[in-house]
Symmetry: C2
Subunit: 672 residues, 2 copies
C-alpha cells in the first residue's frame, strides 16, 4: 500500500532514508520550533541551508527532488527558503540566460553558492499577479554599455523578496526595459546587491526586512529592495529571448516562448505537497481520535474512542480519501508531464503527433491551474478541520496544527492567487467547449466535452466507480456549457472579449471547480484500476468511491439540477457515504501508517505512533516552558493590585460622569 502511494519502492526507501537522516541532524530539530524567536529561526534556517549544499551539488536531480519533497513536509519554511535560491533564481537563469551566460553564472558559483547567492526579485509592493505592469525600470545607457535599474516610486519597491533581507548577493530583477526612450516590456537583469567579501550593500541599493509573516518564519529573510540608479553591465541582462546589442539594437523573439513547462512543474509539486501536508495533519488527527475517549456508552465503563463516533468518521474519513486521491493525482501528473516533455524533446518538428502532444500539454497546463487552486484549498481546509477535530489540544502550538496551517496558507496565494488561477482554468474550459462544438477532438483531460450525450446522462443507480465518473462528466459538461453560453451571449450583446470573460467569471469559476474535482477522481480511478486485484487495491477502490461520492454530496445541487441523480438517489449517496466512512474507519490506522511519516516529521505529540499522547504532550509542554526562577512582574504589577485599598479611588459617580460625556459627544456630532 505504502509503495503504491509513493509511486515506487525506491521512492519510499529514499523517503525513509531522508527521514532518518534529518531526525538526527541538529539543524533539523523540530520539537522546539514553536518557541524560537524570529532571529533564532533565521539562523537555524541558514544552518540547514549550508547542510543541503552538499546534496544539491552531488545528488542526482531525481533523488534531490525527492529529498526536497520530504523537506517540504517536515519544514515548509526551509523548503521555501531553499526553493528561492534554487527553484526561482536558478530557474530564472535556466529559462532566460543564453548558454554562455548560464555557464558564466555557474562558473561564478551559483550552483554551490560559493560566490553567488541568488534571489528572485519580481513582485513589487503594488504589483503581484500582473507581471506586465511592474514599474521598476531598466534604462539602457549606451555610453557606458550598462543598464540603469531604478525604483521610480514607493509602489515599485521590490517586495517579499525571499533571501534578500540578509543572505543574497545577487538578484534576478524583473524590470521594464527602456532603450532610447522606448519601452520593451519586462526583462530580467542579474543585479549585484552586496559585496561578496564584506557583505556591504552595493551603491544605490537599499534593502530592508519585510518582518513577520503568518507563517514560514524561517524565511523571515523576505526583504524589500529599492534601486536608486544602480548600474549593471549590459551582459547581465538575460538574453536568451530578447537581445540588446552594444549599439542598443533590440531583437525580440518571433514568438512568445513556450513557458508551460516551468509553470507545470511548480504546480505539480504543489499538488503533491497538498497531499503530503494533508496526510501529515490527518496522521495526527486520526491517531489522536483513536486514543482520545469521550463519554461512556451506557454501562460499559470505558469511554468511546472518538473515531468510533459516526460524526467523527464523517469529519475525517472523507478528508483521508481526498488526501489519497490528490496524492495519486500528483503522481500521475508527474508521470504525464515527464512523458510529454520527453516526447517533445525527442520528436522532430515534422512529426505528425507533435500537435497532439502540444495540445495535451496545453490542456494539462490549464488543468494544472485549477488543480493548484483546488488542491491547496482542500489541504488548507483539511489542516484546520484536523485541528478542530482534536478539540482544545489542537489549539496548542505543540499539536503543530497552528504552524502547519500558517505555513501552508500561503500556498493559496503564491504562484498565482487561487481564485485567479481557477478563472484561468475556466477560461480554457470555455475555449475547449468552443473547439468541441466545432468538432475538434480534444485532449484526454477534457475529452468528455466531445461526447454531447453525457449532457443528459442518468445514473444507473449502481454508484460504482464508472457511475461516479459519468456523474462528474455530466455535471462538468453542463457547467462548462453554461459558462460558455453566457460568454457567447455577452459577446453578442456587444461586450469585448475581456469584459465578457469578466462578466461570466462566477460561472467560469464553477466550471473550473467541478471539472477539477472530476479530473482528480478520474486520475485516482485510473490509478486504482490499473492495479492488480488484491486486498490493497480493493481498499483503495473503497477509498476512491468514498472520495467520489462524498464530493457528489458536497456539490449535490449540480447533480440534481442537471438530472444525473434524482432526490432518492441523492439520499442513497448520503447513505453510501455514511457506510463508506465506517468501512474506511476500520482500516484507518493501517491506511495512515502507509503514509509513512515519522514522529519526527509530524512533530506532534497528539499523533504519536505508539499512542503515548498525553505523556509526550505533557513532556513537551514542560520542556518548552521551564519555570522562571523569579516571577517576571509580581512586584511591579500583581502585588500592588492584590494589596490595593478600595478607598484610594475617587467617588465613582463624579469620576465617571458618563452621561455628561455622552451628551457632549452627541452635541459635538450635531454641531458638525
Amino acid at each position: 500500500m505504502s509503495i503504491k502511494m509513493h509511486g515506487s519502492e525506491k521512492a519510499l526507501l529514499l523517503k525513509e532514508k531522508f527521514m532518518a537522516e534529518i531526525a538526527r541532524h541538529p539543524a533539523f530539530k523540530l520539537s522546539d520550533i514553536h518557541d524560537l524567536s524570529k532571529d533564532e529561526l533565521r539562523e537555524r534556517t541558514m544552518e540547514k541551508f549550508a547542510s543541503m549544499v552538499y546534496f544539491v551539488t552531488n545528488e542526482s536531480l531525481e533523488t534531490f527532488q525527492l529529498r526536497m519533497q520530504l523537506i517540504g513536509i517536515a519544514d515548509p519554511s526551509f523548503w521555501t527558503r531553499f526553493g528561492v535560491a534554487y527553484g526561482l533564481f536558478l530557474g530564472a537563469l535556466r529559462s532566460g540566460a543564453t548558454p554562455n551566460q548560464l555557464s558564466y553564472w555557474i562558473d561564478r558559483g551559483v550552483l554551490g553558492l560559493n560566490g553567488v547567492i541568488g534571489c528572485f526579485a519580481m513582485t513589487e509592493l503594488a504589483h503581484g499577479s500582473n507581471v506586465a505592469g511592474l514599474e521598476t525600470t531598466a534604462t539602457f545607457d549606451r555610453g557606458s554599455d550598462e543598464f540603469i535599474i531604478h525604483t521610480p516610486h514607493l509602489g515599485a519597491t521590490k517586495w517579499w523578496i525571499g533571501g534578500a533581507a540578509s543572505t543574497a548577493t545577487h538578484a534576478a530583477v524583473f524590470a521594464q526595459m527602456i532603450v532610447d526612450g522606448k519601452k520593451y516590456g519586462v526583462k530580467t537583469f542579474v543585479t549585484q546587491l552586496r559585496d561578496t567579501k564584506t557583505f556591504t550593500l552595493m551603491p544605490g541599493v537599499t534593502i530592508g526586512d519585510i518582518g513577520k509573516k503568518m507563517g514560514r518564519d524561517g524565511i523571515e529573510d523576505n526583504g524589500y529592495i529599492q534601486f536608486t540608479y544602480v548600474r549593471v553591465p549590459r551582459a547581465h541582462m538575460l538574453m536568451k529571448h530578447t537581445q540588446v546589442s552594444r549599439d542598443g539594437v533590440v531583437s525580440e523573439p518571433p514568438l512568445a516562448q513556450l513557458t508551460y513547462g516551468a509553470l507545470l512543474g511548480g504546480r505539480t509539486s504543489m499538488v503533491t505537497d497538498s497531499s503530503n501536508s494533508a496526510k501529515k495533519a490527518l496522521t495526527v488527527a486520526v491517531r489522536y481520535a483513536a486514543v482520545r475517549r469521550q463519554f461512556s456508552s451506557g454501562k460499559n465503563e470505558l469511554e468511546t474512542q472518538l473515531l468510533d463516533y459516526p460524526i467523527h468518521q464523517r469529519r475525517l474519513m472523507p478528508l483521508v480519501a481526498q488526501a489519497i486521491a490528490i496524492g495519486f493525482t500528483g503522481l500521475r501528473l508527474q508521470t504525464m508531464y515527464e512523458d510529454m516533455t520527453q516526447a517533445l524533446d525527442t520528436m522532430e518538428p515534422s512529426d505528425p503527433n507533435l500537435h497532439d502532444i502540444l495540445d495535451k500539454l496545453k490542456e494539462t497546463h490549464a488543468t494544472s491551474a485549477g488543480l493548484k487552486a483546488f488542491c491547496t484549498w482542500a489541504c488548507l481546509d483539511t489542516i484546520d478541520k484536523c485541528r478542530q477535530s482534536c478539540g482544545g489540544h489542537g489549539y496548542s502550538a505543540y499539536s503543530n496544527f497552528p504552524l502547519m496551517y500558517a505555513d501552508f496558507a500561503v500556498q493559496c496565494t503564491w504562484e498565482g492567487d487561487n481564485t485567479i488561477l481557477s478563472l484561468q482554468a475556466g477560461r480554457s474550459l470555455v475555449g475547449a467547449w468552443g473547439a468541441a462544438i466545432k468538432g475538434k477532438k480534444l485532449a484526454p483531460g477534457v475529452a468528455y466535452l466531445n461526447d454531447s450525450s453525457i449532457r443528459t446522462a442518468k445514473s444507473n443507480s449502481s454508484l460504482d466507480l464508472s457511475d461516479i465518473q459519468r456523474a462528474w462528466n455530466c455535471v462538468a459538461f453542463n457547467v462548462i456549457k453554461k459558462a460558455a453560453e453566457e460568454y457567447v451571449a455577452l459577446l453578442k450583446s456587444g461586450k469585448t472579449k475581456d469584459e465578457a470573460m469578466e462578466r461570466c467569471s462566477q460561472s467560469r469559476f464553477i466550471a473550473a471547480k467541478l471539472h477539477t474535482i472530476g479530473y482528480i477522481f478520474r486520475l485516482f480511478k485510473e490509478a486504482v484500476e490499473e492495479m492488480e486485484v488484491n486486498e490493497e487495491s480493493k481498499m483503495l477502490r473503497t477509498v476512491a468511491r468514498l472520495y467520489g461520492l462524498w464530493q457528489i454530496e458536497e456539490q449535490q445541487g449540480y447533480f440534481l439540477k442537471y438530472g444525473y441523480f434524482d432526490a432518492t438517489q441523492i439520499d442513497k449517496v448520503q447513505e453510501n457515504v455514511d457506510a463508506l466512512c465506517a468501512e474506511v474507519r476500520s482500516v484507518a490506522i493501517p491506511l495512515i501508517d502507509s503514509f509513512a511519516l515519522s514522529d519526527h516529521i509530524i512533530n506532534s505529540p497528539l499523533g504519536k505512533w505508539d499512542g503515548s499522547v498525553y505523556e509526550s504532550y505533557f513532556a513537551q509542554v514542560q520542556a518548552a516552558n521551564p519555570l522562571p526562577k523569579e516571577h517576571p512582574y509580581f512586584n511591579r504589577l500583581i502585588k500592588p493590585l492584590l494589596e490595593r485599598q478600595n478607598e484610594d479611588m475617587e467617588d465613582p459617580e463624579s469620576a465617571m460622569g458618563l452621561d455628561d460625556e455622552l451628551k457632549e459627544m452627541e452635541d459635538d456630532r450635531k454641531g458638525e
Copy 2:
C-alpha cells in the same frame, strides 16, 4: 445606518468613546503587537488588566459589557484573560455559592482583585466536553472538616487553566466529590493556589505553563495544575445546590438547576463577536480592494480597482451581507434573552404564561447552540477569505489577518466544540419535530414545524424577502423531518436512544445547519422590516436579499431536492446574487464605514481609512524591523559558504554510494 447596526445611539457613542480612550492608552498600543515576545505580551496583558479594574468596579454592568465587547474586537487575547477572571471565576461563584459564601468572597476582594485573583479550573488533560467524566477527586475528611483535592493521574491534570500559570491566587476547582466512599458527581471547590503575600505555591499545588498556542498569546498565562492531597475547608465548597454538613450528610437538590441562562449569555456574546470580528476583517479587505488596482482594461491607462471585478465582488459582498445579518441576529438575540429573563423574574409560578416563556427560553437555548457553531465558523471563514482577497500582503503579519485568524480560531472549539453543539441543536430539532406531529404549538423559532403545508411549498419566483423566508422554512422542515424519521426508524430497529441519535448524526447536523441559516435570515428580515422605509432601510433590504439568496445558492442542493426551486429558478438565484453583489458594491464603502471601527482597532495598514495603504504599510514594516547594526551570522555561516572551495569535498560518487545504501535497507526490510 451605523446607529441601526449598533442597536442604539448610546451604544454607538459609547463605542466611539471607548475607542478614543484605548487609542491613547499605552497598554493598548496595537501596532507593535506582532513583534512582541511571549513574555512581553504577557506583561502588557497584566498592565491592561490593572487598567480595567477601575471600570469593572465603578461602571454599570451594561456600560461595562459594551466596553468589553469593544475590547473583544480590538484585543481578543486580553478580552479572554479578563473574561477568565470575571466571566468564569466570578460566574462560578454567582451560580454555585450560597448568598453568604458569595458575600464572603466579595469581602475578600474578588470583584476588585484586591485580595483574590481567581481562575476557573474545569478542563483536564483527558477531559474537555464531558464534564461529568472529570477525574480530579475531592474527598471529605470528617476529622478535619476539610476536602482533600487530588489529581489521581496525569490525564486528570487541570489543563488550559487561564490565569493559572502566573497570576491567580485561587481557583474554582471542579472535582468528583466523594463522601464516605460514595461518589456524588462533579462539584466546585474554591482552592487557594498561591500565598497572596509572597506568591509562593501552596503545599501540594504544582503549576506549570501550558506554553505557546495558536493565538491569544496574551493569555499565555494558561497553566496546568496538579493537586497532591491539597486540603480546603469544607466551607469552600460552593453549596448553593448540593450541601455537605459538618457530619458529612449530603443534601442534593431535588431538580437539576435551570442553567440555560448562563450558557445563553455566553453564546449570544459569541454571535455578536462573530459579527464584529468579521466586520473588522471585511473593513480591511474592502478598503484595500478599493485602493488596489490590477490589470488595465484596454486603452485606459489606470488599472481597474479590485472591487470593480465581478469575481472580487463575489468574494467579498456576500460576506459583508453575512456579517451584517449575524450582527442583527446578535442584537435581537440579546433583546429576546433580556425580555425572557425579565419576564421570568417578575412572573409568579402560577402565571399561565410561564410555560410558554420557558418553552421559548428552551428553544432559544437550543437554537443558540447552532448559532454559536455556524456564526463562529462563518466568521473564521470570512477572516481567511479576506486574507486571501488581499493577495500576498494578506500573509504579512502587519495586515493583521494572521493574528485575527489565530485569535478567532479557538471560538470554534471552546464553550463547546462546534460540531458537538450543532448536534445538540439537531437533537432538539428532532424533539421539536416529535412535539409538532403530536400537535403541540411550538415556540416562535421553530413554529414553521407546525405548518406541514410548507413541506411541499413552491417558490412564486419573486425571490423577495418573503419568498426567501418560505424557501428556508421549506428546506429546514424537510431536513428536520428526514433526521427525525431516521431517528424513529433506528429506534424501531431496536437501537437505544443514544445509539439512534449517534447513527443519525449526519442528518441531525444538516438539520441544524439549515435551520440556523434560516433563523439568522428570519431575524435579519424582521429587523429590517421593522425599520421605517427610507434609503438606509432599503439598502439593508438589499443586503438581506443578498444574504438569503447567496446562502440558497450555497445550499442549492436542498432547494432542488425538496422542489422549492426548479433548475431555472436556481439559475435566476445565481443571476440575482451577481446583480446584488454589484448593487452592494456601489455602497460598499459607506456600508463599511458604518461598522465604525477606528484605524487603531483594525490595526492594519491595508485598511487605512484615508486610503494611504502603501505608505502606512511601508512605514509600519520599517518601524517594526530596524536594521541590525551588525549582520547576525554573516561570519559564522554565510562567509564560509561563499568562500568555500569545491575541492574540499570528497568524490561524490563514492561519498554517496546511494544504491548500496538502498540495497541494504531493502535487505533489512526483507529480513524482518
